[in-house]
Symmetry: C2
Subunit: 300 residues, 2 copies
């Protein structure tokens, strides 16, 4: 069934040990969509500025992402400048953000999109996430992502959201920050007590920890030998995970594990190139082939 | 078949977020033996000082560890003072070491031990490791552990050893330090090129990466909710891993995976108590029961 993602569409300046790029297409919703598109129709809800390159719009369309609710706001596009150091490719250093059109963004979606059952609230201001979610008429599976900024500045809105979403996708540092628990197993248990039935903790190169009342597991990541640019890896993971679940009828242990494997696999491609260099050229056979390698690598 | 381990037997002062302990029985060979004993006869080769508590000798004997080559040297026992901070329980901060009898230690073993086929060179000065290995008459499987100190101060001896051992057990930080490669997959490949056929990279709470020409895999660790004292976790892992392999006839993928599972399981008990509090009271049924939980937790 179809999937709607709310988040950012950004212009990224990124510096990593492998080089740097300017004005790349980025943002949480864009990376998510570029990954989820392999499983279902993805409806993107975001805002861009009048300065946004037309080639990026055409590019997203060419990947069959539905842009009916991609609004063009008054002002400049959202920009993110970040850097990754060789010693810790898991953590981005934010050098600058320019909110531009994001300030004051109120998502408006097409009427026919109001009944989309699978909803992912990718990283964006939690008040914007709440605003959209309240409009949706038939939510079936609602996932949420966030970031340290919102944990530090808007934790009340975030906690409100956690009470109503089904799935929380979070990285290890955010899980620790939000719960005050350093031990990741205890932190994950605490996240569950905040509301979401399904908790996915992303540990970067160390893989993923999944936690629900009835299903708990941990998988390592795919062994990437050259991490070029980790930007969007978490969103790419979430896109594969949520995209796969959106087309599954039953969300049981088998489906959840397969969803983590898909998310992990597509994210492993993401980090091998700048921005969407790799994920934009992927095909389902390439994904399945690497996923089989991953299975071999982590099977008992 | 029986197993010989060379390393340290120490008196540890340890401080962790859970508390502190003084004069605990510790040391690389002691922790290794306390774990490997579940699989085979363990012959411990080490030196202690005249001040070493008799109760610890009796304790080791009670765990059926062969102490025929545990020498009593002139001087004081080796001591290690360490601390772990809440933010990084994976890394020990060494506050002080007192070499005592370790300075000038030349391992001497009983004649009948010279033909022991399985040999583990636990962490100790690499020149001492070389000295012992050259005496051994029928080595079949030789494993090696080391630490950052030796990588920084005796890398030539260490490289010499790497050319002649079969197995290298190393933690992630050491793998990076020794190879100069930050990416762990590339670092592991480089370690293989230094000599050992079997490479085991210990990643603490993130599990283990195994690498050989024909077998490659990665397993997460057991989800421990309360890490009390990580001291000796790596040695405990190595003891379970090497202990299990010592009794297997064929070292194939199946045996290697099971060996990693045993090492991981016993190490998970080790970190739940100070020193050998937990591992000294373990039984094979307890180990197998937790190993089954671990299997469930990481199975596809």
């Amino acid at each position: 069934m179809s999937l709607l993602v709310l988040g950012t569409v950004a212009l990224d300046n990124v510096k990593t040990p492998s080089g740097k790029r300017r004005n790349m297409l980025g943002g949480s919703a864009a990376h998510f969509a570029m990954s989820a598109r392999f499983f279902t129709q993805v409806n993107l809800v975001a805002v861009i500025g009048k300065d946004f390159p037309g080639q990026y719009i055409r590019f997203l369309k060419s990947r069959r992402i539905n842009l009916a609710s991609l609004r063009v706001g008054e002002g400049k596009s959202f920009r993110w400048n970040g850097e990754y150091k060789k010693e810790d490719l898991n953590s981005a250093l934010t050098l600058a953000t320019e909110l531009g059109v994001l300030a004051g963004f109120i998502p408006q979606i097409e009427d026919h999109q109001l009944v989309i059952p699978n909803i992912f609230l990718a990283n964006i201001d939690p008040d914007i996430q709440i605003g959209l979610l309240q409009k949706m008429k038939k939510p079936k599976l609602v996932g949420l992502d966030s970031m340290n900024l919102w944990i530090n500045t808007k934790v009340r809105s975030l906690r409100k959201l956690l009470k109503i979403v089904d799935l929380f996708v979070v990285n290890d540092a955010e899980a620790r920050l939000l719960t005050g628990e350093h031990n990741l197993i205890r932190a994950t248990r605490r996240l569950r007590s905040l509301g979401p039935e399904l908790i996915v903790v992303k540990k970067g190169e160390h893989g993923v920890l999944f936690y629900s009342d009835s299903v708990k597991f941990s998988f390592p990541s795919y062994p990437v030998e050259e991490v070029v640019d980790p930007t969007g890896a978490g969103d790419t993971f979430a896109g594969g995970f949520m995209g796969y679940l959106s087309k599954e009828r039953k969300i049981n242990a088998k489906a959840l594990k397969k969803a983590v494997l898909y998310g992990t696999t597509i994210a492993s491609f993401n980090v091998e190139g700048f921005g969407m260099e790799k994920t934009s050229r992927l095909t389902m056979p390439k994904i399945n082939s690497r996923m089989e390698q991953l299975r071999q690598f982590i099977s008992l």
